[in-house]
Assembly symmetry: C2
Homo-oligomer: 303 residues x 2
């Protein structure tokens, strides 16, 4: 992971001073580096694929960061991980360019490894990400969003990049691309579901934001979908009338009162259990144990 | 070129209906397809590299389109090639996403050919593009922009993608990557210089826009840089005071009166001549002739 941080910084700095400054700030603002971790764990302990795994880990984090930067432009977000966004501090042009640069460098990083297959895997995931982002905007304010449509959105905007991280790790190291890709996709789905639960459950000091920010953005997530089926008042909710953090917290309380949070958590934990169930087929017990730890880490964040 | 159009349409349509609609509209709005043409001509007549050349031509045009879409978002542009921009017709989110998708698909298209080197070439060019775009915004309203800095900007934002187009063609076909890359870079620089001359010289019915749009954007180009050295009044120009199309046309007339347009054209034509001078080293006379035709085509647009 140290090699990852060092390499991310070099890549971010490589294209002009101004751009480098903002790209670096984005990278250094951090985050959990969950996707690079998945790459490394999926690659397994073999040192042979070390360079390829490092390149893949860097590339996956760059694509993830690029998406966040562009999202902040579109949402006119002011803070991200407790720091001013590039969009807020340097304007939309700089933020759009920084995102575009991070995208370009991700593919350059993979191509530098000399193999085309990783580029195919990551470009497919990044196309899915864009599609998922748009699906979310299309479905905004639609209380009647179905569970299937919600899951499709989570798959596109989150799980596909988790899948790509595992597939890229597998390509760099241990093989087992199919099995590890499935694992990544399930963990990614669970991660998104739990993230959506956390937005409703809080507490704010854990998430760094008010409860109910999704509601204020018009984003309908699984807790509301489940609660809507249980509470006739929520089934009639006018999402556009939810405008203040206080109103959003009130709706969060109503959702929690239906038991929808426990149900959503149960569905997510089932996905994690399914992801772990396939792991014994892996030949290397130490890799299996490491993957189980990562899976548990995703869940633990929400206990 | 027919295969190119067909393939561009398939790629644009491949990721969701809404996104496909806008990506297709972008592609179908057309343009001169000069960059794909360079790929094909640089690849030469050999049918062996046909698939690789087609992929490269598609990828180069996708990156070019993505850049235009993102530029329109940042400039809040309403029209592009006589049609409403995506930013104007479907909003910034859709336009940003469409640009991101076109970027992703460019790299997927190249990776599908099974070789990593083309991905490296294109991702370097697209990073340069972003850097050039930002340089232009950083230098906006700066009348004292030097000729060196202007040429560096043109190199990054235009010539590098022309170079990449030629290098990708060379990789797919004839070889001679170094020579053809140099050719592409020179033609690209000349193309940008002549484009900047055209913005000052008009006529508007040729360019589809008023004379002096660069001035209104605060973009300082070679004609103004040369004219500033010749006319003491232009050397004192307050760019921010140029606000209406009428005022911009007045400044265009003042620039033209110094002879700066002829001088800028002369510099561009010299670059084209230098580009052509290396071509006799190519083993295939028919390829040399085709490249000369493309070089002349770039110039002809401005006669």
């Amino acid at each position: 992971m140290d090699a990852l941080e060092a390499r991310l910084r070099v890549v971010a700095k490589s294209h002009g001073e101004t751009l480098g400054e903002h790209a670096c700030a984005t990278i250094e603002a951090g985050g959990k580096r969950l996707r690079p971790l998945l790459v490394f764990v999926a690659a397994g302990p073999s040192p042979a694929g070390h360079d390829a795994a490092l390149r893949a880990a860097v590339a996956v984090e760059l694509v993830h960061s690029a998406t966040l930067v562009h999202d902040d432009v579109l949402d006119a977000a002011v803070l991200r991980r407790g720091r001013p966004t590039i969009a807020a501090s340097a304007g939309r042009a700089m933020a759009t360019a920084t995102g575009d640069l991070l995208f370009s460098r991700a593919f350059a990083e993979l191509a530098g490894g000399g193999s085309a297959e990783p580029v195919r895997v990551l470009s497919d995931a990044s196309s899915a990400l864009v599609e998922g982002e748009l699906l979310q905007r299309e479905d905004a304010w639609k209380l009647q969003t179905t569970r299937e449509r919600y899951l499709r959105r989570c798959d596109l905007k989150t799980a596909r990049l988790f899948r790509a991280a595992c597939e890229l790790g597998a390509l760099a190291g241990s093989g087992n691309v199919g099995l590890l890709g499935e694992f990544g996709e399930r963990i990614g789905l669970a991660f998104q579901l739990l993230d959506d639960v956390l937005d409703v459950s809080g507490p704010a000091e854990r998430t760094g934001k008010h409860r109910g920010t999704d509601l204020l953005d018009g984003t309908v997530t699984l807790p509301l979908i489940l609660a809507r089926e249980r509470d006739p008042e929520l089934a009639q909710l006018d999402l556009r009338a939810v405008r203040t953090p206080e109103q959003a917290e009130g709706v969060c309380d109503a959702i929690a009162a239906t038991g929808a949070l426990e149900e959503a958590r149960r569905i997510a934990l089932e996905m994690v259990a399914e992801a772990k169930a396939d792991l014994p087929a892996l030949p290397e017990p130490s890799q299996q144990a490491a993957l189980e730890l990562v899976a548990d880490g995703v869940v633990d964040r929400y206990r």
